[in-house]
């Protein structure tokens, strides 16, 4: 409950549903909307570039890290390929050297061959046996753990390959010992088209060690396959030797290649491979993408955390700033509207004062007559008793008093009628009648100031269904302004015309001082007045503008300095209930 109370206290005032009731000023601001727009705009401007930059940086960093990993894989494959190629090349070259350095007869000597095998094994390592095969494919001499003398190799494919190409490096195979090994055979040509072949069996243990000692991240793997896709060396997790490799045989390339793929179980992989020259072997380096990208995943969390924290901070600041600003505007506006209210009230009081002065003056004249007539009657009765009774003077004076009282009565009735019509109900209104009523209060001023008032409202102007009080106030304000603008002896012309089937226009033209083009732009602004210090509040036209808007009308003004001003009010013939104004 305390949290709800705290949140309620933090909630800005403009969101608490406190409506500013300001009559025609109420349309000024929609604060929640202003607040939402401010937040949306500021958030867009601040967050979108941040997100874009972060996403861009994220992608660049990801790409750079991946490129680095691919490059490292490529380098590892390349180095390993060189080591294995060197291993095989060294042993092939050694055999080459032996066939060139020894007579064929010497090599057929078992003791000599045994010695060579021992030297090779101690010098290079991995040599298991050594045999000399004649051009018929028959093993003539053999040193090693088995007894292969006399074995005929002529039907075997490798023998044909040696005959044709001069060298053969076999796949890995188990052989009799059930130990993985491979065979290197070199051909030595003799005179008359004859030749012999030196064949050595090599234990694959040493290069298995090269591969197993490679630093392949996590559960990565490095192994050889042959061109049929059969695994040739032990693997960590890719299968047993002589099994089909889980990856397809990659396309031939002279250079080391790296590619990304997905294992059968859906695990993404980075694979580097290299064809070992002059052999059937393909070196495969397999890394699990997830494991090698660990560093990237840590960085990625940093990226996302940074983005989330930044966006949260930005949004908090934006929310606080927008709330503070809109609330300040709301409070200022409220104060302003309260001032406007006060001024409006003062302006209304001033209007009532003017009206009261006019009425008092109107009533004062018949009152003065009554006073004099009653005084005269008294004089007649006290001073000239006889005459008064005889010639009917008293009767005449009494009639004059009654007539003056009637005149007062007419004025008070008109005032009452005007006051009664100052309500806000919509009524059917005859424009000439309304204008006569409004002018009734200004007639005496016009007479005293010799202002000629012309009213031209054609008979075809239809009745209006609108707010009578507002219409009275509108024309009272405009005509009052016209009177104030004119010197004595001016002319005021009021004309009505029908502009379209739904509207009438009423123009009020004076021959006053006019309004300068600069002032013309501001005449409807609250507190703008050229009569400052002369009793002008600067609210008359602002209020008039608001009232016209409320009854669905429009106001236009034309003015020439020194010639006069013409206000034209366009009014709808009918104003519907709220929200339906035509």
């Amino acid at each position: 409950m305390a949290i709800f109370q705290l949140l309620e206290n933090l909630r800005p005032q403009f969101l608490k549903g406190e409506r500013i009731e300001a009559d025609h000023f109420r349309y000024l601001f929609n604060y929640p909307r202003l607040w939402q727009v401010a937040i949306a705009l500021m958030a867009t401007v601040a967050v979108v570039p941040l997100v874009c930059v972060t996403v861009f940086d994220y992608r660049v960093t990801q790409h750079a890290l991946k490129s680095e990993i691919l490059l490292r894989t490529s380098r590892l494959a390349s180095n390993s390929k060189r080591s294995i190629a060197f291993f095989l090349e060294a042993r092939k070259s050694a055999l080459d050297f032996i066939v060139h350095d020894n007579d064929p007869e010497a090599l057929q000597n078992t003791t000599r061959l045994q010695r060579i095998l021992e030297d090779l094994d101690s010098g290079f390592g991995g040599f298991v046996d050594l045999g000399v095969i004649d051009d018929q494919g028959r093993q003539v001499t053999y040193v090693g753990p088995y007894r292969f003398e006399g074995k005929d190799y002529s039907p075997q494919a490798w023998f044909q390959e040696v005959v044709e190409q001069g060298i053969h490096i076999s796949d890995v195979f188990l052989g009799y010992r059930k130990v993985p090994h491979l065979v290197i055979a070199v051909k030595y040509p003799l005179a008359k088209g004859s030749f012999y072949v030196l064949r050595a069996t090599i234990d694959t243990g040493p290069y298995n060690r090269i591969l197993s000692e490679l630093e392949v991240s996590g559960s990565g793997d490095a192994f050889l396959i042959n061109q049929a896709g059969i695994i040739q060396t032990p693997t960590r997790s890719s299968g047993e030797v002589f099994e089909k490799a889980p990856l397809p045989v990659p396309p031939y390339s002279e250079h080391t290649e790296v590619y990304e793929t997905t294992a059968a179980n859906g695990v993404p992989l980075i694979v580097g491979y290299a064809y070992i020259p002059s052999t059937q072997f393909i070196l495969m380096i397999v890394k699990k993408t997830d494991q090698v990208m660990q560093a990237w995943y840590a960085t990625r969390i940093d990226f996302i955390s940074f983005l989330v924290v930044s966006v949260a901070v930005i949004l908090t600041v934006i929310l606080a700033v927008a709330t503070y600003l809109v609330n300040s505007v709301y409070l200022t506006d409220r104060k302003r509207l309260m001032t406007l209210h006060a001024q409006e009230y003062a302006s209304k009081l001033a209007s009532i004062g003017r009206l009261a002065a006019g009425v008092a003056h109107e009533i004062n004249n018949p009152l003065a007559i009554i006073n004099e007539k009653a005084g005269l009657m008294r004089d007649l009765m006290l001073i000239k008793k006889k005459d008064a009774l005889e010639d009917g003077r008293l009767l005449r004076e009494t009639d004059a008093i009654i007539s003056s009282v009637e005149r007062c009565g007419t004025i008070t009735k008109r005032l009452l009628s005007f006051a009664r019509h100052m309500d806000t109900r919509r009524k059917t209104i005859l424009l000439p009648e309304l204008m006569e009523e409004v002018l009734g209060f200004l007639g005496k001023e016009a007479e005293y100031r010799s202002i000629e008032v012309t009213v031209d409202i054609p008979d075809d102007i239809p009745t209006l269904y609108t707010d009578r009080g507002k219409l009275q106030q509108i024309f009272l304000n405009i005509i009052n302004n016209a009177f104030a603008a004119m010197e004595d002896g001016g002319q005021l012309t009021i004309r009505a015309s029908r502009v379209d089937p739904d509207h009438v226009a009423v123009s009020v033209r004076d021959t006053g001082c006019g309004i300068s083009p600069n002032d013309l732009k501001q005449i409807y602004d609250p507190f703008f007045s050229t009569k400052t210090g002369k009793g002008g509040t600067g609210l008359g036209l602002s209020i008039t503008y608001g009232l016209i808007g409320e009854i669905g009308g429009q106001i236009d003004v034309e003015s020439q300095v020194g010639e006069g001003t013409c206000f034209t009010v366009k009014l709808p013939l009918r104003i519907e209930e709220k929200g339906e104004a035509k």
Partner: protein, 122 residues
């Protein structure tokens, strides 16, 4: 004492003139400035009682015109409510004014005082 009353309300000015006449004062009246000026041309008045607010011309302006024709004439102004400002702005403080409706005794007193200033016997 000869007094000229000028006011646009005929009933008022005629009745007031009659009441003054009952009190022994020679009072004439006019309802327009032109009529009033015509009377001044025809007759020498000791005092002019003028309404401050009249159509076309104010009492203050009429006073200037009468003064041009008859410099010795003294003035008393009649004013409605709310017109004191106009009156005070356009006249000197030595002149008299009465607020309508006037009490005949007050007017008589002012007439006597004004007449005393001119030295004309009442």
């Amino acid at each position: 004492m000869r007094v000229l009353l000028v006011d646009d309300e005929e009933e008022f000015v005629a009745t007031l003139a009659e009441r003054l006449r009952i009190r022994g004062i020679e009072a004439d009246w006019a309802t327009t400035a032109d009529e009033g000026l015509q009377r001044v041309v025809e007759t020498q008045y000791d005092i002019a009682v003028l309404d401050v607010k009249m159509p076309k011309i104010s009492g203050i302006d009429l006073k200037a015109k009468i003064q041009a024709l008859s410099p010795a004439t003294k003035f008393i102004f009649l004013t409605g409510h709310g017109s004191e400002k106009d009156f005070i702005a356009g006249t000197s403080i030595s002149e008299f004014y009465l607020i309508k409706p006037v009490q005949i005794d007050d007017l008589m007193e002012k007439l006597q005082t004004a007449a005393g200033q001119t030295g004309t016997p009442s």
